[in-house]
């Protein structure tokens, strides 16, 4: 397609009016309140409902809540999650009624797109997207968080249902 270049009018060809207009904008902003944040010295307040890094949580009694149902692994669009189920002779679950918990649980934070599907699909309220947005490491390997790390970062989640206790 050929776009015809519009002929400039005399006023436009004068050049100065446009310059003055530009400086007006600059001056207006110069005297306004500053909005630039001095990151990383200054940090922002992460709003509620923000979707940061997904971590695993424990219940208030210190039990791993994940039961290794692998639904998050299934739903995760970029396949960031890899769970190793316990198998028949794995370590006993923290809560005997829950029968199982993962042997290993890895999230590749480089793959994660922070969509929150894992949190949404989890039937055990065991994985949550938290407020961490700044994830760095010195190697790709370091960015694969294992179960221990995910649990440590996730902390404790208030449990209102105590599903496996009242079984």
């Amino acid at each position: 397609m050929i776009v015809k270049r519009k002929e400039l009018s005399f006023w436009e060809r004068l050049y100065l009016p446009a310059i003055i207009g530009g400086f007006k904008v600059t001056l207006r902003h110069f005297f306004r309140k500053k909005v630039t944040m001095q990151y990383p010295e200054e940090k922002w307040v992460v709003p509620e409902g923000y979707r940061g890094a997904p971590y695993l949580v424990k219940d208030p009694e210190g039990n791993t809540k994940c039961v290794s149902c692998q639904l998050c692994e299934f739903v995760c669009p970029p396949k960031a999650i890899k769970i190793t189920p316990p198998g028949p002779d794995g370590q006993a679950a923290d809560r005997p009624a829950a029968e199982k918990m993962p042997k290993e649980f890895e999230i590749n934070m480089l793959r994660c797109i922070f969509c929150g599907y894992c949190q949404e699909v989890c039937p055990e309220e065991a994985i949550f997207l938290m407020k961490d947005y700044s994830l760095n490491g010195e190697s790709r390997k370091e960015m694969i968080f294992n179960k221990e790390k995910l649990l440590a970062l996730g902390g404790v989640h208030e449990d209102k249902i105590w599903k496996w206790k009242n079984k």
């Binding site: 039961v67 149902c69 189920p85 198998g87 028949p88 029968e99 039937p123």
Partner: protein, 574 residues
């Protein structure tokens, strides 16, 4: 075109008597009698008729290969029959069509009364309404009642993903429970037998497991104890549920009550890739499905084939797969010939080295021991090579105890193939002493061993050390592979395609589920290269082509084709 090799051509069946019924208003003709679980003709049931009409009736306790119990009530269907006048003549509508009397509750004529589809025979003129609102309501009510005491522990249940309760809940379930009372609690994690775990809370008391073990296996070990909502499945007091077929109950249990201890918590089923395969643990050749994920095999399941294994398989065969994932699998081309230098094009070098040996070998100086666990295609290639070299060949017989159901005393999956192709003499193993003698006298200088540890079958290490060339291909390390001058890593059946012939002459094919470890290659691939090097003629480069060529060359295969084998195989006359 009908295939001439099929031996199952029965005498022309007598004309089937058909009756007309209506399913969801559509008129169809169905046979009056249909085979029951034993294959005997019985009056066609509403469930079978609907299936013929292409309408699936949800069901739990009905299983086509088990006697009908009719206890879960999930298959309830609203129906009507032609109305009869007092003169025993059908009452007609104004337009001349027969008037249909819908079945209703006798004490409440406004309420439809369903009948269980799995056990109610159809009658001429009957109308079935499997999609009517009343039928739907019946199913919803049954679902609600089945779920009253259900523990809802899908996240930790191995059945999740292939559970009928889950499936029908999606169709007929409620998202919230109306049940406010305390649920009845029943035993969980019950150790029912050495291979079976029972969760009584998940059981819906369909009795499939009981019927299977009583009527199919003949081991009347399971039953229901206690009353009412405390009903539980149990083994006879003081005994274990332990026969060679227990794991089939895990397959047929529609819910997660019976689970396999072997598969327990290993992998969620929706991740498993399903590949059609065969069991290699005996000559029966049960049809199986391999469940694998990311190159790791997790389980076998039986696959229906009425000419071989119905829908069952034995526990012995089912659990005999772990060697495939063993960490010590052979994965490198090796052997004393390659001491020190590891050529970059290992396979090329290895094949070249073997061809150098074979092409120089005088007639009668080569012997080949090829396992009856190899595929027809591989054995055929070996046979071609042996013919050219004038080599003596044999396989190793392998026997065990049989049972009256599926397990055969011949523990090789392809003894018949080895005999038909001519690798093994009629009396399998009778050439082995001759080979041993040949090595002892120094006449046999080169031995090829494909998939066997010959040191355990009469050709000891001291004999093998006398050889000029010991060329071995195998999957797992053994005494023989240790002594090999050239060692080629091969593939398990799950890692290649091919065909076997079972003890009854059924030629069946299996598909590839996984890749072999490391440098391992399917044996037929390198055997093909060897055959081409020895005979100087190129052959087909695919399994299909190889099979078809073999079927032309070996008369027993009657010009079968790979495509004609289908998923169920074809029987050839023995």
């Amino acid at each position: 075109m009908s295939n001439p090799t099929t031996t199952e051509s029965k005498p022309a069946p007598p004309p089937v008597e058909k009756i007309k019924i209506k399913v969801d208003g559509r008129e169809i003709e169905v046979p009056k009698m249909m085979p029951d679980w034993q294959g005997k003709l019985q009056p066609t049931t509403m469930l079978q008729a609907c299936a013929l009409a292409g309408v699936e009736i949800p069901h739990y306790c009905y299983h086509p290969k088990l006697p009908v119990a009719g206890n879960c009530r999930m298959c309830l269907v609203e129906f009507g029959t032609p109305m009869m006048g007092p003169d025993r003549k059908p009452v007609l509508n104004e337009d001349g069509t027969p008037k249909i009397a819908k079945s209703v509750l006798p004490y409440e004529p406004g309420t439809p009364r369903g009948a269980i589809g799995c056990a109610t025979p159809i009658t001429p003129g009957m109308e079935l309404y499997p999609s009517s609102p009343a039928t739907k309501q019946m199913r919803e009510a049954i679902m609600e009642s089945l779920l009253i005491n259900h523990p809802l522990d899908c996240p930790i249940c191995d059945q999740a993903g292939e559970c009928k309760l889950q499936e029908y809940s999606v169709d007929y379930g409620k998202s919230a429970s109306r049940f406010v009372e305390e649920k009845v609690h029943k035993p969980k994690q019950v150790d029912l037998g050495p291979r079976i775990m029972l969760d009584d809370e998940r059981c819906i008391l369909c009795t499939r497991c009981i019927r299977f073990t009583k009527d199919i296996v003949g081991d009347d070990k399971l039953g229901i104890v206690n009353r009412g909502s405390y009903n539980t499945i149990a083994a006879y007091p003081g005994t274990q549920f332990d026969n060679n077929y227990t794991l089939n109950t895990v397959d047929i249990c529609p819910v997660g009550a019976l689970t396999s201890k072997d598969f327990r918590f290993k992998m969620r089923v929706w991740f498993l890739k399903e590949t059609k395969s065969l069991c290699t643990s005996c000559g029966t050749g049960c049809n199986t499905i391999i469940g694998s994920r990311e190159n790791k095999m997790y389980r076998y399941e039986p696959r229906e084939n009425d000419a071989v294994n119905s829908t069952w398989m034995c526990d012995y065969g089912r659990l005999n797969y772990k060697w495939i994932n063993r960490p010590d699998r052979l994965s490198k081309v090796a052997g004393s010939r390659f001491k020190g230098e590891i050529p970059s094009e290992v396979w090329l070098e290895a094949v070249k080295a073997i061809l150098a040996v074979l092409n120089k070998a005088p007639q009668d100086s080569v012997a080949i021991v090829a396992s009856a666990r190899q595929t027809n295609e591989e054995l055929y290639l070996i046979k071609k090579m042996a013919d050219k070299l004038g080599a003596i060949t044999d396989s190793v017989p392998r026997t065990g105890e049989s049972d009256r159901l599926l397990l055969h005393e011949d523990r090789n999956p392809n003894s018949t193939g080895a005999r038909l192709i001519g690798i093994s003499p009629q009396q399998m193993g009778s050439n082995l002493p001759k080979i041993a003698d040949g090595i002892r006298t120094g006449q046999i200088r080169t031995l090829l061993v494909i998939g066997e540890d010959v040191t355990r079958h009469g050709i000891g290490a001291e004999l093998l050390q006398k050889l000029d060339n010991l060329i071995v291909s195998d999957i797992l390390p053994s005494k023989t592979t240790e002594l090999a001058h050239i060692l080629l890593p091969g593939c398990a059946h799950g890692e290649k395609r091919g065909s076997f012939v079972n003890v009854k002459g059924r030629v069946q094919r299996f598909m590839k589920a996984m890749e072999g470890p490391g440098e391992a290659r399917p044996e037929w691939e390198f055997l093909k290269e060897l055959v081409e090097g020895v005979t100087g003629r190129t052959g087909p480069a695919t399994i299909e082509g190889l099979f078809n060529q073999m079927a032309k060359d070996v008369p027993a295969f009657n010009e079968l084709t790979w495509a004609a084998l289908g998923d169920q195989g074809v029987t050839v006359p023995l």
